[in-house]
C-alpha cells in the first residue's frame, strides 16, 4: 500500500510536469495556427489551456459586430484532435469543426455583435486525454 502511494505521488508529480511541458509546446503551435500564412490576426491576449479528459469544457465570450474572428485549437501536431463548437446563448449550434475534419482553425465573419458559448472537447476516436490549447484572434 505504501509503495502504491509513493508510486502515485511520483506519477502525479511527473504527470503534472509532463502536462505543463506538453501545454507549453502546444501554445507555440497554436500561435502559428492563429496567425496563419497571412499573419493578419491579432490575439485577444489570452491563452486558453487545459488538460482534457473525456469531458467537454465551455466558456462564454462576445464576438463584436464588424469583426472577423479566428478560433485556433490544437492538442498535438500529428492529427486534428480538438473539436470546437460555437453556440449562441440559446444553445443553438452556429458552427462545429467536427463537420470539417476537426479543422484546427476556423474564421467567423460577425456583422452584428453576439455573445457565444465555445465548447471544446477531444475527439475520442483519436485521443482520449491530453493538453489542449485554444486561442482567439481578430482580423486587423
Amino acid at each position: 500500500m505504501k509503495k502504491l502511494a509513493l508510486y502515485s505521488i511520483f506519477t502525479l508529480i511527473v504527470g503534472f510536469g509532463a502536462n505543463a511541458q506538453d501545454c507549453e509546446t502546444l501554445v507555440k503551435d497554436c500561435e502559428n495556427i492563429l496567425k496563419g500564412k497571412e499573419k493578419n490576426f491579432v490575439s485577444d491576449g489570452q491563452v486558453y489551456t487545459a488538460f482534457l479528459d473525456r469531458e467537454k469544457a465551455e466558456f462564454k465570450t462576445t464576438f463584436f459586430g464588424g469583426t472577423t474572428y479566428r478560433i485556433a485549437a490544437t492538442a498535438g501536431t500529428d492529427d486534428e484532435y480538438v473539436i470546437f463548437t460555437v453556440k449562441d446563448m440559446q444553445g443553438t449550434v452556429l458552427f462545429t469543426n467536427r463537420k470539417y475534419k476537426n479543422s484546427s482553425y476556423w474564421d467567423f465573419k460577425v456583422p452584428r455583435t453576439i455573445p457565444v458559448i465555445i465548447e471544446t472537447e477531444l475527439d475520442m476516436d483519436k485521443k482520449i486525454t491530453g493538453c489542449a490549447v485554444m486561442m482567439i484572434g481578430f482580423k486587423r
Binding site: 502536462n19 489570452q46 488538460f51 469531458e55 472577423t68 446563448m89 456583422p111 453576439i114
Partner: protein
Amino acid sequence: MISSCGSEEEKKPEISKEVIDPNSSLNAKFDDKIFSIPSPMQMAMLLEESKSPYNEFLLNDLDKVGDYTSEYKKAMNLGIYGTDLGYVSIYKQNSIALKYLSTIEKLTSKLGLEGAFDKDFMTRFEKNSTNKDSMMVIVSDAFKKSDNFLKSNNRKSVSALILVGGWIESMYLACNINKAHANQKILDRIAEQTETLNTIIELLTDYNKKGESDELIKDMKDLKFYFDQITINYEYMEPITNVQKKTTTLRHKTIVTVDSSTLNFINQKIEAIRAKVIE
C-alpha cells in the same frame, strides 16, 4: 476541462482517487473554469475607426505608478496602463507610447513578468512605432505572453486582475469619448458588454480568496443592475459556411435598446470604479 483562468491556483495538488486507482488515467485537472474577456485593443480600434479625436487627458497618470504597491493594485493598473498603451499606439502617439511602455516595464518587473516585455519586445516596439497595425500585434503578443506565463505558473489570479483592469479602462475611454462626441457605434459597443460584465463578476468572485476584490465585486454588481436595463432582441438566422475559405458568416439579427438615463448611470459607475482602481 479547459481553462483560461480558474479557481485552483493557490491550492496544492491533491492526490485524486483516480490517480491512486492504477486502472484510471491520469486526469489531472489544471482548472475547472474558463473565462474570456474580449481584447481592450478592439475598443481602441473602434474609437479610432469612428474618428473620435484622441484625448490624452483620459489616460491614467504615469506618475501614479509608484503608488501601486500591492500585487492587486499592480496587476489592475497593469491592465489599465496596457489599455492606455493600446489606445495611444493606435492613435500613433509614439513618444507617449514609449513613456507608457516604460511604466509598464516597471510594473511587469515588480510582478515578475519581465519575460513578456523583454529586450526583443522593446526592439520590435521601437522599430514599428509608426505602424499602428504592427504596434497592435506587438502589444497583444506581449500581453498574451504574460497571460500564458502567469497561468502556467499558478498565478491565474494576477492574470485575471490584469484582464479586469484592461476592461475597466476600455469602458472608461469609450464612455468618456462617447459623452464628448456621441457616436452610435461606440454607444452600441458599450451596451453590448453585458455578458462580459457577467464573466468579470464570476472571474473576480472565483479569485477572491483573500477578500481583496469584495468592494470591486459589489461595484460590478451595481453596474450590472444598469446593464440589466438594456434590452437586446436576438433573432437566430442560419449562418453560411464557406468550406474552401474555412469561414462561417453569422447572420443573426439583434436590436439593442438603451435609454440615455441608463447610459448616464453606466458612465458614472464606470468612472467611479476606475477612480478607485487608479487611486
